[in-house]
């Protein structure tokens, strides 16, 4: 079996985000990028499936700053192969990128795609369903507890009120993963160091981003509404103010 995992770098939210001058994007000049946490789960799940049932795992990412390092980490985590997909002036929308991922998945000959259910720039989880549509494969999203049973992929999908279903998908399929059955493993620095010089191969695909007809008109930073108080100052001052608020509202 061949598994493809899609990996995305998303803005690091531990840093302050600023908008570009035209207000249509965040300023990407200075921000840090981190692996989308759900993609992190997908990668772990792929490696767990490989360890349990035997599979060849390929990690895919749209090329860009930090992608080589990201894919080397994926190798250290247990992926068998990695590919970076070149894309000129890559749009950030998951939906627009779908044809590129689909072409790469076909070229690898994967039977199963694991994608993170959502990302900070794909809050509605569009990647997995659009990718499945493009490929014409079965699809389930927001799932956990992924297993391979008799050639099918079996997943658990949770609903409200603690109800859940086991779904069996005939391969090929695309899964939008919520959590892996084990937390992502730690990769020792020595493995990262050993991979520093490893070449991450490029995989040019014969596809172009989809025209979605949707462009951001304006972006907005968080509103400072009437109900919110932004506490500023030194840590001591912030702590003091928090304490005062708790006392004021009888919560201390």
């Amino acid at each position: 079996m061949k598994i493809a995992v899609t990996l995305r770098l998303t803005p690091d939210l531990t840093e302050e985000l600023e908008l570009t001058e035209d207000g249509r994007d965040i300023d990407r000049e200075w921000i840090g990028l981190v692996l989308n946490e759900f993609d992190d789960q997908a990668l772990e799940q792929a490696v767990l499936l490989k360890e349990a049932a035997g599979a060849e795992v390929t990690a895919l990412a749209i090329d860009g700053e930090g992608v080589e390092r990201l894919l080397r980490t994926a190798l250290a985590r247990g992926a068998d192969a990695v590919r970076r997909i070149p894309a000129d002036d890559a749009p950030s929308s998951a939906r627009a990128l779908t044809p590129l991922y689909a072409a790469a998945v076909r070229e690898i000959g994967a039977d199963l795609v694991l994608a993170g259910v959502l990302a900070t720039d794909d809050l509605h989880g569009e990647l997995a369903p659009f990718l499945a549509a493009e490929l014409g494969w079965r699809q389930a999203s927001a799932v956990s507890d992924v297993r391979i049973e008799d050639g099918d992929v079996v997943v658990r999908q949770e609903y409200s009120g603690g109800r859940a279903a086991q779904l069996a998908l005939t391969l090929p399929a695309v899964v939008g993963l919520q959590t892996a059955s084990q937390p992502p493993r730690y990769v020792a620095g020595s493995k990262l160091r050993d991979l520093l010089k490893v070449e991450v191969p490029e995989m040019a695909v014969d596809a172009a981003p989809a025209a979605t007809g949707i462009e951001p008109a304006t972006l907005a930073l968080p509103d400072r509404g009437a109900g919110a108080e932004m506490i500023e100052g030194s840590a001591d001052q912030i702590a003091e103010r928090l304490h005062a608020i708790l006392v004021e509202r009888d919560m201390a």
Binding site: E15, Y186, L192
Partner: protein, 665 residues
């Protein structure tokens, strides 16, 4: 007589063969261990052997046990002449020590030491069975008891042989053996005289021989191996700087030689000899902050478990050997260590506990098995070069609180390069002290600069956590940054960074002159570049940080500074090289400490509170500021004691006292 010689020969050869058989379970692993070169600087090695064995330097730190051991040790040396006489006469009829005073003064000395060893044996028994110090908990009591019995048997048979010989008459040494003579009188009273006494003397001789051989056979399987292992173990101790960990074992091409310590054959022979030397005295256990706080680790138990695991593995054969970390030694015990080095400092045999723990941690990290909370910090260190998960660009953000902008050493030459460190840069509780130190430097017109976002965590504790690759990445980044800068000295307020920069980076070929701020500020005072104008004259105590004191031998500068500022310094009982770790070292600050019975830092604050009149707890390490401030709050004793960084004391003394307000405000 020939028959007797033959019997003695057979008995002796048999005993030697039995002893060798009993030594086999550890001789085989020793032979298969990895190499370690411990032959450099032989004189330096020998002097410490003489000091620690001949003069009992470390043993005498616990007076009662030290004196007792000294009594047994010297008695063994003196009474060895008796063994020489017994076997000499047995193998070579007519052999005698008479030419060197065997019948005169040597006989008298032997008599005296018979009393000495009897007294020491009494002390040992009383100590182990009546006083029962906590450090013996977990030691093998049956082994100790067996040894007492064997020593008693050797001494009693020896004494009875002498007495019977005197009772038989004509013993030339009689006038020099008052004790034996008195005993002979007693035997005479029982009717043992003449030929009967001669026969009895012969019987006691054989009993004496038998007890010596029994002792010989027993030793290889007992902690009493230390009689033979102690001297080589001290001689072959590591002479590397205390703050420099050994590298992991080199990886071979086959699975038999992994790049980490997974099986006993991955240890060096010296690591294994450490275990074989252990006397289970428990001095390490008594000073261990992890053990003291109720964690699963006891350094003594660890060394014993490694030793027993090694022999058991060998007996089971290669098929039964499972990884040591998580098998022979639990992962909880390995993660509990603060690498404070108190155990190594007190061990009379110079056993190296910490390097073994780090080697085993390395094998866990390599497999991705790490303490749950640690993963977040290490992942941050991989991504950002600090454990706070902050962008490297935010490292110098604390400088916003300064009255000036420090030089960027990457752009201009300076006299002093200040390596700020993670906690001083990012922790809000420490940042204000970082600002204060910077202002002090400016006030003294020190030409200094910082690396801004070029600095990364020094990697000191990353290396101790066991992530060798990450340490390597961090260290090489910093070395490359420093290479591009022009400076004379490196200053740091962080003992952990100091240790990495001066000891660990040296192993990577980078050598710097690194100074801790306690010494640097003292130099500024001495040079008259800072002028204390007020004296608040408090009663204070000072906590020696492990990585400044025990690891890097800086005990005086902070004490001089404190006294110079007019304070009355009262040291805690556990001070200087016996300082008690705050619990943060070795990466513990990134791990979960909620399961401890009592945090080491809280134990330490209680120790300070027990000192009469002490109101300030002076520290000189950013992690100590964090640990002890939290401990004072947890104990709810803010009204009795306050944590002061040493720079704060200096800052206070530099301020002109305002009438009506305290200088500290």
């Amino acid at each position: 007589m020939a028959t007797q010689t033959l019997i003695l020969l057979i008995a002796t050869l048999g005993a030697v063969a039995a002893a060798a058989w009993r030594a086999r379970p550890w001789l085989v692993p020793l032979a298969h261990a990895r190499p370690a070169n411990r032959l450099d600087r032989p004189w330096q090695r020998l002097t410490v052997v003489l000091a620690d064995i001949g003069l009992h330097r470390r043993l005498l730190r616990i007076r009662f046990s030290g004196v007792m051991h000294l009594m047994i040790f010297t008695s063994f040396l003196v009474l060895f002449t008796v063994i020489v006489q017994a076997f000499g006469a047995g193998f070579f009829p007519g052999f005698s020590l008479e030419p060197i005073g065997g019948h005169t003064w040597l006989a008298a000395v032997q008599e005296v030491f018979t009393v000495v060893i009897a007294a020491a044996l009494g002390m040992a028994i009383w100590h182990r069975f009546v006083r029962r110090p906590a450090r013996f908990a977990g030691s093998n009591r049956r082994d100790a008891t067996t040894i007492y019995a064997l020593i008693a048997a050797i001494v009693v048979t020896m004494l009875l042989e002498w007495a019977a010989r005197i009772a038989a008459g004509g013993d030339p040494s009689e006038p020099y053996r008052p004790l034996s003579a008195a005993l002979a009188g007693g035997l005479g009273g029982l009717g043992l005289e003449g030929d009967a006494a001669a026969t009895a003397s012969s019987a006691f001789y054989w009993a004496h021989i038998a007890s010596i051989l029994a002792f010989l056979v027993y030793i290889p399987g007992s902690k009493h191996r230390h009689m033979f292992a102690a001297a080589p173990n001290i001689f072959f101790r590591s002479l590397a700087p205390k703050g420099q960990l050994p590298p992991p074992p080199p990886a071979g091409d086959s699975d038999d030689q992994p790049g980490t310590v997974q099986r006993f054959s991955d240890f060096t022979w010296k690591d294994l000899l450490d275990g074989l030397s252990c006397t289970e005295c428990g001095r390490c256990q008594a000073v261990c902050p992890a053990h003291g706080s109720g964690a699963e680790l006891s350094p003594k138990q660890l060394v014993m478990d490694l030793r027993d695991g090694m022999t058991a593995t060998n007996e089971r054969g290669a098929a039964g050997d499972s990884p040591i970390a998580g098998g022979t030694v639990s992962t909880e015990a390995l993660w509990a260590c603060t690498t404070c080095r108190a155990c190594m400092e007190v061990c009379p045999l110079h056993i190296e506990h910490v390097p073994k723990i780090v080697q085993l941690r390395r094998s866990l990290v390599e497999e991705g098995e790490i303490e749950p909370m640690l993963q977040d910090s290490l992942t941050s260190l991989q991504s950002y070069g600090n454990s706070f998960g902050k962008s490297p660009k935010q490292r110098a953000r604390w400088t916003r609180g300064l009255s000036f902008k420090p030089k960027d050493v990457r752009k201009e030459a300076v006299d002093v390069l200040w390596f700020v460190g993670d906690f001083s840069s990012f922790d809000p509780r420490v940042q204000r002290l970082t600002v204060l130190v910077a202002e002090l430097l400016a006030q003294a017109e020190v030409d200094f600069g910082i690396l801004y976002e070029g600095e990364r965590n020094s990697g000191n504790d990353v290396r101790r956590v066991g992530d060798e690759g990450l340490f390597d990445l961090l260290a090489r980044h910093n070395i490359a940054e420093l290479e591009g800068c022009s400076f004379n000295r490196i200053l740091t307020t962080d003992p952990h960074s100091l240790n990495a920069l001066s000891n660990e980076y040296a192993a990577l070929g980078a050598h710097y002159d690194v100074v801790h701020h306690t010494k640097f500020l003292w130099e500024l005072l001495e040079a008259g570049r800072l002028d204390p104008v007020s004296r608040s004259g408090q009663i204070v105590t000072y906590h020696d940080p492990c990585y400044l004191g025990r690891y890097n031998d800086e005990f005086e500068a902070p004490r001089r500074l404190i006294r110079r500022l007019g304070h009355d310094l009262h040291d805690m009982g556990r001070c200087r090289e016996n300082s008690y770790c705050c619990g943060a070292g070795g990466g513990r600050i990134w791990m979960d400490d909620s399961g401890l019975a009592q945090r080491p830092s809280e134990n330490r604050i209680e120790e300070a509170l027990a000192l009469e009149g002490v109101t300030r707890f002076v520290v000189s390490c950013p992690k100590d500021v964090v640990m002890y401030t939290a401990a004072v709050q947890a104990l709810g004793v803010e009204d009795r004691i306050a944590v002061w960084e040493i720079a704060e004391l200096l800052d206070e003394a530099l301020r002109v006292p305002q009438p009506g307000s305290s200088a500290a405000d």
